[in-house]
C-alpha cells in the first residue's frame, strides 16, 4: 500500500502544478483553449465566457462541451421534439413525461409503469459486446431512477447485410452483450427486432428498452432539493471509461504522451448493477432519498448539473472524494467519466448513515461527495462549485449546463428526388405467376435473414427470470404479469402489460412522415393483438447527420408524423431518445424511427398468444388487403428494390382492430392472433404454423389475387383463430367496429404444413428448414 501512496502523492503534486482553477482562469483570460477540438463553436465558447464572466477552467470547458453536445443538449432536435408536447393527447395516466429520466404512466391508482427506449449505436460498433451490454445497463438505470423496479428489457437491432463479414463480428458481439448484461441482471428479455440492411453496414443500431413497475407513491425525482442535503455517489468506482473527446484537454495541458489511446469504451458489470438496483429499491422503500439521478452519458457532469438545476439550487462538491479506479485521474476526467453502474443520491443529513448501511449490506460503495447549497439571492438558481483538493475548479450556474445549451434551427431541405422515388413503384415489378413460383417465393421469403426465425439470437436471452413472463419471443408483444395484483377475487386475474417495439427504415426512407406513423402503427397493432389496450409510447429516433439538410428534413417529417399519429391514436409519447450522426462517410442510414408501445391487460390470463394450436379453430383475416408492395420485404429481398410509396396508414383501422381484439380476448372468442407486417399474410401464416408445428388449410377468397393477398404489406390487419362456434359472435363484433373480416380456413394438424387450397402445399419440415436454417448458417 505504501508504494501506491507514494505514487499517488507524486501524481498529486504534478496535478496541482497543472491544475487549472477558477482563480487562475480569472487571471489568465488570454489562455488559448481547445474548445473547437471539443466540438464547441466560436459563438458557443463566447457564450460560455459571457456566462462565467471569465474564461472557463479546463474542467468547466469539459463540462460545457459535453453538456452542450448534440447527445446531451438535443440542440438540433429540440425545436422539433416540442411537437410531441404540443400534440400529445391529454392523458390522465401520465405521471411523468418527456424530460424525466423515463416517462411514467399510471396503471391503477396505486401502481405505475415506466419504460423508455435508448440508443447505444456507436459504442456497439466499436466494441459490440461491451457497447451493447452497457446500452442495456444504461437504460435500466433510467428506469431505476424513477423509483421503479426494472422488470424487463427489449432490444431493437439493425445490422448491415447479413452476408457481410463485418456483420459476423458485430451481430454475435451485440447479442452476447445484451444477453450477458440482461441475463446477469435478472431481467427477462421479452422481445425486440432484428433487421438487416446494407444501409446499417458501418453503423449498426442497438436500441434497448427497459420497463419497470413502481407504487405510484414511490415515484422519484431528480431535483437536488433541500439546502444542506448531502450528495452521495453510489456504485462502481470511477475510471477513465468513455472519456472520449475530453482527452483533448489532457493533451492540451500535458505533453502528448500517455494520454492517447484513451478508451472510449465502457465496460459493464451487471453484477454491480444488480446490487445497485436492490440497494436503491431498499432506500426508496425506507424513504431515504430526496432525489436521485442515474449516471449515464456525461457521467457526473450531467448528474450534478441536472439535479442542481432541477431544484434551482446550488451544489458544492469535493470532487477528490469520488472513489477512483485510477489515482492519476484529473478533475475534468472525473467529471467526464462514463464509468457504469453509478447513481447520484440526494439525502437528508439525518438519513446518510442509513443510506451507507444499506449500501454496505449490498456491498456497494457509497460516498458523500457534496451538499446542496442555497440559491443566489439575485435569483436564477444557485452555483455549482466543485473543489479538487481544496481548490475551486468549477464555479458556474448549473442551469447554464443543463438547460441553457444552444438551440439550433438547422436548415431543412426536402430532397428533390422524391417524385422520382415515388414513381419507382414495386407494384410494377415482375411477380411470381404460377403456383410453383408462389410456393417458391413463400419459402425464399421465409428464409431471408429479415424474416427467418430469430431463435439463434433470442435463445441467448433469458425470457422467464422473474416468473412473470406471460408472452415473449416469438409472440407479437412481450406480456408481463404485474406481480401481486388481482389476487383477491378469483374472477379478476392479475393485471398485465404488453410491450412491442417496431420500426421500418425502408418505409421511412421512402417517406419519413408515413414511415414514422407505420412504426407506431405496427407496435400498436402488435400490442393490440394480444388483447391489450395500448396506452403510451416511447421512441428512439435514429438518423444521419443533422448537419445534412436532407436528414434534418427526414427528422422533422418523422417527428411530425409520429406526433400526429399519437394524437389520433390517443397514445402519448412519454419519453425517448434521439441518435444523430448514424452514417458512414457521407451516407446516412435509412431514417429509422423506432417506437415502443405499452399496453395494459385487465386480466393477464386472457392474453392472446400467436400461433396455430387447436385443431378445428377457424382462421380469419381482419382488415383489408390492397396491392401495396412498395418498400415491402418481397420487393427488397426478391428484387433488391426500394421505391414507390409505402403502404397507407390507417390509424382508425388500427384502433378498430384493437377494440375488437380487446373485447374478443375478454370474452375468450379468440384462441390465437398474429398481426400482419413484414412479408404480409404468407409470412404470418408460416410463423403461425411453425409456432407449434400445427398445420392449416387456407383458402383465399375467389376474387383474390393470390400474390397480392400473400405478400402485400397493407396495414391494420391480423390473422386470428377462433374456437369453432364463435364465428357468429365474433363476426358481429367485427361488424360493430367496422373491421372487415374474411374467413380464411381452419387449423388442421392433418395437413402437416401450410396448404393454400387450389395453389400449393408446403410441409412443416420444409418450412422449418427454410425459416430456421438461415441464422445458424450465417452465424454458426
Amino acid at each position: 500500500m505504501t508504494g501506491k501512496h507514494e505514487a499517488a502523492d507524486v501524481e498529486q503534486v504534478d496535478q496541482e502544478l497543472n491544475l487549472d482553477t477558477v482563480e487562475i482562469a480569472a487571471k489568465t483570460p488570454d489562455e488559448v483553449q481547445p474548445y473547437a477540438e471539443l466540438g464547441l463553436r466560436d459563438d458557443e465558447y463566447a457564450k460560455i465566457r459571457e456566462i462565467l464572466g471569465r474564461r472557463p477552467t479546463g474542467s468547466e470547458l469539459a463540462m460545457y462541451s459535453i453538456m452542450w453536445s448534440e447527445h446531451c443538449s438535443y440542440k438540433s432536435s429540440k425545436v422539433h421534439l416540442r411537437k410531441f408536447g404540443e400534440k400529445n393527447p391529454t392523458n390522465t395516466r401520465m405521471l411523468a413525461g418527456i424530460g424525466e429520466n423515463a416517462g411514467v404512466v399510471a396503471i391503477t391508482d396505486e401502481l405505475a409503469v415506466t419504460f423508455k427506449v435508448e440508443s447505444h449505436n456507436h459504442p456497439s460498433y466499436i466494441e459490440p459486446h461491451q457497447g451493447a451490454a452497457t446500452g442495456v445497463g444504461g437504460i435500466v438505470r433510467d428506469i431505476l431512477a424513477m423509483g421503479a423496479r426494472p422488470i424487463a428489457v427489449m432490444d431493437t437491432l439493425r445490422f448491415g447485410d447479413a452476408e457481410h463479414p463485418d456483420t459476423k463480428r458485430v451481430l454475435p458481439g451485440v447479442v452476447s452483450g445484451i444477453s450477458f448484461y440482461g441475463n446477469c441482471l435478472g431481467l427477462p428479455n421479452i422481445g425486440g427486432e432484428v433487421v438487416f440492411d446494407a444501409s446499417y453496414q458501418g453503423n449498426p443500431l442497438v436500441n434497448a428498452l427497459s420497463v419497470g413497475v413502481l407504487p405510484a407513491s414511490r415515484l422519484q425525482n431528480k431535483a437536488a432539493s433541500g439546502v444542506g442535503n448531502v450528495v452521495v455517489l453510489l456504485g462502481q468506482k470511477t475510471g477513465k471509461d468513455g472519456i472520449g473527446g475530453v482527452s483533448v484537454l489532457a493533451s492540451a495541458t500535458f505533453e502528448d504522451d500517455a494520454t492517447d489511446n484513451r478508451p472510449s469504451v465502457q465496460v459493464g458489470d451487471p453484477f454491480v448493477e444488480k446490487l445497485l438496483i436492490e440497494s436503491c429499491l431498499e432506500m426508496y422503500d425506507a424513504g431515504l432519498v430526496v432525489g436521485i439521478q442515474d449516471l449515464g452519458g456525461a457521467g457526473l457532469t450531467c448528474a450534478l448539473s441536472e439535479t442542481a438545476a432541477a431544484a434551482e439550487l446550488g451544489m458544492y462538491v469535493d470532487l477528490e472524494r469520488v472513489p477512483l479506479r485510477d489515482a492519476t485521474m484529473e478533475p475534468h476526467e472525473v467529471l467526464a467519466s462514463e464509468s457504469q453502474e453509478r447513481m447520484l443520491l440526494i439525502v437528508n443529513p439525518s438519513k446518510v448513515e442509513d443510506v451507507l448501511a444499506v449500501a454496505e449490506k449490498w456491498g456497494v460503495l457509497a460516498t458523500a461527495i457534496g451538499t446542496v447549497t442555497a440559491a443566489s439571492p439575485e435569483g436564477g438558481g444557485g452555483r455549482l462549485i466543485i473543489n479538487w483538493h481544496g481548490q475551486t475548479v468549477v464555479d458556474c450556474p448549473p442551469g447554464s449546463l443543463a438547460d441553457d445549451g444552444p438551440v439550433y434551427h438547422r436548415p431543412i431541405k426536402e430532397p428533390n428526388d422524391r417524385a422520382l422515388i415515388a414513381a419507382d413503384r414495386a407494384e410494377t415489378l415482375p411477380r411470381p405467376s404460377t403456383d410453383a413460383e408462389l410456393r417458391e417465393t413463400v419459402l425464399k421469403m421465409a428464409a431471408t435473414p429479415n424474416l427467418a426465425d430469430k431463435t439463434w439470437i433470442t435463445e441467448q436471452y433469458d425470457d422467464m427470470v422473474g416468473g412473470n413472463t406471460a408472452l415473449s419471443m416469438p409472440d407479437d408483444a412481450g406480456v408481463l404479469r404485474l406481480d401481486g395484483t388481482g389476487a383477491v377475487d378469483p374472477n379478476i386475474g392479475p393485471l398485465g402489460i404488453a410491450l412491442s417495439t417496431d420500426g421500418n427504415g425502408r418505409f421511412a426512407r421512402l417517406d419519413p412522415y408515413t414511415g414514422a406513423q407505420l412504426a407506431i402503427a405496427e407496435a400498436y397493432r402488435n400490442v393490440a393483438v394480444t388483447g391489450a389496450t395500448p396506452i403510451a409510447a416511447s421512441d428512439c429516433l435514429n438518423f444521419g447527420s443533422p448537419e445534412d439538410p436532407h436528414v434534418m428534413w427526414q427528422f422533422a417529417q418523422a417527428v411530425e408524423g409520429l406526433a400526429d399519429a399519437c394524437a389520433q391514436l390517443g397514445v402519448p409519447i412519454t419519453g425517448g431518445n434521439v441518435s444523430f450522426y448514424n452514417q458512414t462517410g457521407m451516407t446516412a442510414i435509412h431514417p429509422t424511427p423506432v417506437v415502443a408501445v405499452l399496453g395494459v391487460l385487465d386480466d393477464v390470463r386472457r392474453r392472446v398468444p400467436m400461433g396455430f394450436a387447436n385443431d378445428g379453430d377457424v382462421i380469419i383475416l381482419l382488415g383489408e388487403t390492397f396491392a401495396e408492395l412498395s418498400g415491402s420485404e418481397w420487393a427488397w429481398s426478391q428484387h433488391g428494390h426500394l421505391g414507390g410509396i409505402p403502404p397507407a396508414v390507417d390509424l382508425a383501422g388500427e384502433m378498430a382492430l384493437a377494440a375488437v381484439m380487446k373485447r374478443a380476448a375478454e370474452v375468450e372468442h379468440v384462441s390465437a392472433a398474429h398481426d400482419l407486417s413484414d412479408g404480409g399474410l404468407a409470412q404470418a401464416l408460416v410463423e403461425s404454423v411453425l409456432k407449434h408445428g400445427v398445420g392449416a388449410r387456407v383458402k383465399l377468397p375467389d376474387h383474390a389475387d393470390p400474390f397480392v393477398w400473400l405478400f402485400a404489406e397493407s396495414t391494420a390487419r391480423a390473422v386470428v383463430c377462433l374456437p369453432r362456434g364463435h364465428e357468429v359472435a365474433f363476426g358481429a363484433l367485427c361488424d360493430e367496429h367496422g373491421v372487415p373480416w374474411t374467413p380464411l380456413g381452419i387449423v388442421d394438424s392433418t395437413v402437416g404444413g401450410l396448404e393454400i387450397v387450389d395453389h400449393f402445399q408446403i410441409p412443416t419440415g420444409e418450412l422449418r428448414e427454410a425459416s430456421e436454417g438461415t441464422l445458424p448458417r450465417l452465424f454458426g
Binding site: F271, W362, A470
Partner: protein
C-alpha cells in the same frame, strides 16, 4: 404445520423469488435466507436458486461456496437436510463438493434457453418421489455454463449407483457428458440440476407444470421423515 423451505439469496441470485413462488404454489412456506448469515432459521429444506452469484465471473458458484451461509449448509446437507440446487445452485453444490463434478462452459459457448425434455432417471431422491421412474417431463433450461463434466470413473460410479437424476432428451443443450442434466449425492438428499423446475409451475408463465413435482416431492418427503421421527 406446513414445511418451511429456505431459499438462499446471494448477491447476484436472480431466480430466488421465482423459487419462493414455486415453494408457495406447492403448499409450503418459503423462508428467505441471506448469504451473509450462517443461520438456517430452522428450515426443513433449502433451495439454492439460479442466478449469477457474485457475478459468477471466475466459474459459476466458485465464490458463492465461501459465503457464510454455506458453512452451515454444507454441514446440514451432510447431516441429511434436503438441499436442491438449481442452475447456479447446482454449480454451487458442485463447487462445495456436496455433489461430484463441475459445470463448464457450454460446448457451443453461448447462453442457451429453451424448453427441454428430460427423463427422470431416479425417482427416489428427496426431490423426485412424485415422479414415476423414467417419466418424461418438460421444463426450461437456460444457462451459459451448464455442461456437466466429471471424470470417467466418477461418471461410471454415478451411473452405477443410479445417481444421475435427470437426463436430457431430444438433444443436449450444453454438451453435458452422458446427457446429464442433474445428479444426487449418495444419500439422495442433495440434488442439483441445470434446468429450472421453478419456471414450470404455472399455466400463465410456463410451458408445463412439470416442475411442481420437485417441490411437492420434498414436501411429501419431509412429511414422511416427520412422521417417522414422531
Amino acid at each position: 404445520m406446513t414445511a418451511r423451505i429456505g431459499v438462499v439469496t446471494f448477491p447476484g441470485s436472480l431466480d430466488d423469488r421465482d423459487a419462493q413462488r414455486a415453494v408457495r404454489l406447492a403448499g409450503a412456506t418459503p423462508v428467505p435466507l441471506w448469504h451473509g448469515e450462517t443461520a438456517l432459521r430452522g428450515v426443513d429444506a433449502v433451495i439454492l436458486p439460479g442466478g449469477f452469484s457474485y457475478g459468477d465471473y471466475l466459474r459459476g458458484g466458485a465464490i458463492a461456496r465461501f459465503a457464510p451461509v454455506m458453512e452451515t449448509l454444507i454441514d446440514a446437507a451432510k447431516g441429511g437436510l434436503p438441499v436442491l440446487g438449481i442452475c447456479n445452485g447446482f454449480q454451487i453444490l458442485c463447487e462445495s463438493h456436496l455433489l461430484p463434478g463441475v459445470l463448464t462452459r457450454n460446448a457451443h459457448m453461448r447462453f442457451r434457453r429453451r424448453s427441454q425434455r428430460l427423463r427422470v432417471e431416479n425417482s427416489a431422491t428427496a426431490f423426485t418421489s412424485h415422479f414415476d421412474p423414467g417419466q418424461e417431463i418438460v421444463i426450461p433450461v437456460k444457462n451459459g455454463e451448464g455442461r456437466y463434466v466429471a471424470d470417467e470413473h466418477t461418471l461410471d460410479e454415478l451411473e452405477g449407483e443410479g445417481r444421475v437424476v435427470f437426463r436430457y432428451l431430444d438433444g443436449n443443450p450444453s454438451g453435458a457428458l452422458r446427457d446429464i442434466a442433474g445428479v444426487t449425492n449418495a444419500a439422495g438428499n442433495v440434488v442439483g440440476l441445470m434446468p429450472h423446475p421453478e419456471h414450470a409451475v404455472e399455466a400463465l408463465t410456463g410451458a408445463s407444470l412439470d416442475g411442481l413435482g420437485m417441490f411437492t416431492s420434498v414436501i411429501a418427503h419431509l412429511g414422511q421423515t416427520a412422521a417417522a421421527g414422531s
